[in-house]
């Protein structure tokens, strides 16, 4: 059983200070162009994530899923277009305002990104110690509550090096929710996990979203897992959204690009071979 105890009973508000409604657009990405070294990662990207829902960003490796998270969290800036979170224009925010915005977000990194010189308990307590003056007794309660929620209360005094990949991911999740964020961002949460750990993380994402009423963003290419939990899905390819809708709608799509991804076909619109000269010609060529 999960125990979730919000730090306070704050009511989420939009940029005008009005109470926000479930289903409102929390994250809006409009006509975004982003290039790295002249190569367009995004070319007119449009995405919306709504309050209280789990939105999945899917796509083959190298389509810029993690880059999209960096744009949303203000770690990178788009060349063109707008990125709004809670109505705030993220690229235009000053550092202080950006940090204020990030306090309303929690992020789970691909590798957990736990601080390796402190134990599990201190890792989860870290944001509380950094941002609040709460007494130690209250910090202890909050940390144990969050660790209990991810099933790792008994691992509180272990060091990160003593944790398995799945446990590290769960501790990172406890740390991400300890400040009761309104948005929870997951960057490839299923990578490298065994089926049991994958199932645990999957269940936690769903339960956290439902119990805390937060907005969840999940970046992954694990179609199977995302289909179980996502409310809305975006499939990215070639710098654009090639399909969007519920996972069921994506499964029904006839587009070859979407079918290749959803069914895990090795060849198709996304070719198996990286562009190369003719195979026979290259084999018969002399060694330069």
């Amino acid at each position: 059983m999960l125990f979730f105890a919000p730090l306070n009973d704050r009511v989420a508000k939009d940029s005008n200070g009005s109470p926000a409604q479930a289903g409102d657009a929390v994250i809006e990405v409009r006509d975004v162009v982003y290039r790295i070294g002249g190569r367009a990662i995004f070319d007119g990207l449009d995405i919306t994530a709504r309050r209280g829902r789990i939105t999945a960003f899917m796509g083959p490796s190298g389509t810029g899923k993690t880059t999209l998270l960096r744009l949303i969290t203000g770690q990178s800036q788009a060349e063109r277009g707008t990125v709004r979170v809670f109505g705030e224009d993220v690229p235009r925010l000053k550092r202080r305002d950006l940090f204020a915005l990030r306090r309303r977000m929690g992020m789970l990194f691909q590798n957990g990104a736990l601080l390796t010189d402190i134990d599990v308990y201190e890792n989860v307590a870290f944001p509380l110690r950094a941002h609040t003056e709460l007494p130690e007794s209250l910090i202890r309660q909050l940390v144990l509550t969050k660790l209990h929620a991810v099933g790792l209360r008994g691992a509180a005094r272990l060091m990160p090096a003593e944790l398995s990949g799945g446990m590290a991911r769960r501790v990172a999740l406890a740390r991400a929710i300890v400040m009761d964020p309104e948005i929870l961002i997951y960057d490839e949460p299923f990578v490298g996990l065994d089926p049991i750990s994958m199932g645990v993380i999957c269940r936690l994402i769903k339960q956290l979203n439902d119990a805390l009423g937060i907005t969840s963003i999940v970046v992954s290419h694990d179609v199977q897992e995302l289909s179980q939990i996502a409310d809305d899905s975006y499939l990215l390819s070639g710098g654009k959204v090639v399909a969007s809708g519920t996972p069921a709608e994506l499964h029904r799509t006839e587009s070859p690009e979407v079918r290749q991804f959803m069914e895990g076909l090795p060849d198709g619109p996304v070719p198996f071979h990286y562009p190369a000269p003719d195979y026979a010609t290259q084999l018969l060529d002399e060694v330069p």
Partner: protein
């Protein structure tokens, strides 16, 4: 960021500018960092206490060599009683601060760079930024302050052990009169000499600490990048220590 086509002087100027800007960022976070004294104490322990063995051993051997060489030189002029003065001034004004700083760069500096570099490579610094926590305040500033405080303390220990080493050789082995050794040292060493050593070690602590945290914070987030950054820390710190030592020595001699 420098590119391949950039000339060496331009790249060097750009790098100096980058270090200066980073120093400004670190200094701005020094007062807030004192709000978490536990972090600073931990870093003084890491940079200072963990360097004690190498500093004490080196101090002992440097002092013993000073005793041998000093005795050999001074006895040619029949002034072997001045061995204590020579060893004390040599240690306090030059050898203590410089050798301590070079050892510090090799032991604690590399440790700081690789630690911060690995934190960067494993997304720990990005995770802090995502938690709205400034890594410069929580990671860099405590380590910088730790170096700044640890260096003069290590220097004092190095000088004390070094003087003991010189006394061990001069008095116990070579037969210099113990009373003459210590009384001449007491009479000749002035507060200015001690202050010169302290000022130098504070300057070296600042330089070594800054270079170590700068290189770690700006390391490429790969195994190779962290390795290169660690090497740069030792090379840059060593050269900088010797350069600053020359400038400070010249300044002290001019003002005396």
């Amino acid at each position: 960021m420098s590119n391949g086509a950039e000339s060496v002087p331009i790249a060097a100027i750009r790098r100096v500018g980058s270090v200066a800007v980073f120093l400004g960022q670190v200094l701005a976070q020094v007062p807030p960092a004192f709000a978490k004294p536990r972090l600073i104490v931990q870093q003084i322990y890491n940079a200072g206490a963990r360097s004690l063995v190498i500093i004490m051993l080196s101090g002992l051997f440097v002092g013993m060599v000073l005793g041998l060489q000093g005795f050999d030189l001074l006895q040619r002029f029949g002034s072997e009683d001045a061995l204590g003065v020579a060893a004390a001034l040599g240690l306090l004004k030059e050898l203590g601060p410089v050798v301590t700083a070079l050892l510090f760069a090799g032991r604690a500096g590399t440790s700081l760079t690789s630690e911060i570099g690995l934190m960067k490579a494993t997304d720990q610094l990005t995770a802090m930024q995502m938690m709205a926590v400034d890594p410069v305040r929580y990671v860099v500033a405590p380590r910088f302050i730790g170096s700044f405080i640890a260096m003069p303390l290590l220097n004092a220990i190095f000088c004390g052990i070094g003087l003991f080493g010189a006394q061990l050789i001069g008095v116990s082995l070579m037969g210099v009169d113990a009373g003459a050794f210590w009384s001449q040292t007491q009479n000749a060493v002035e507060l200015n000499d001690v202050a010169e050593g302290i000022i130098k070690s504070v300057a070296f602590g600042t330089a070594c600490g800054l270079i170590a945290v700068y290189e770690g914070y700006h390391a490429a987030p790969t195994a190779e990048g962290v390795g290169l950054a660690t090497t740069r820390t030792v090379v840059t710190s060593s050269v900088l220590v010797l350069l600053v030592d020359y400038m400070l020595t010249a300044a002290f001699l001019t003002t005396h």
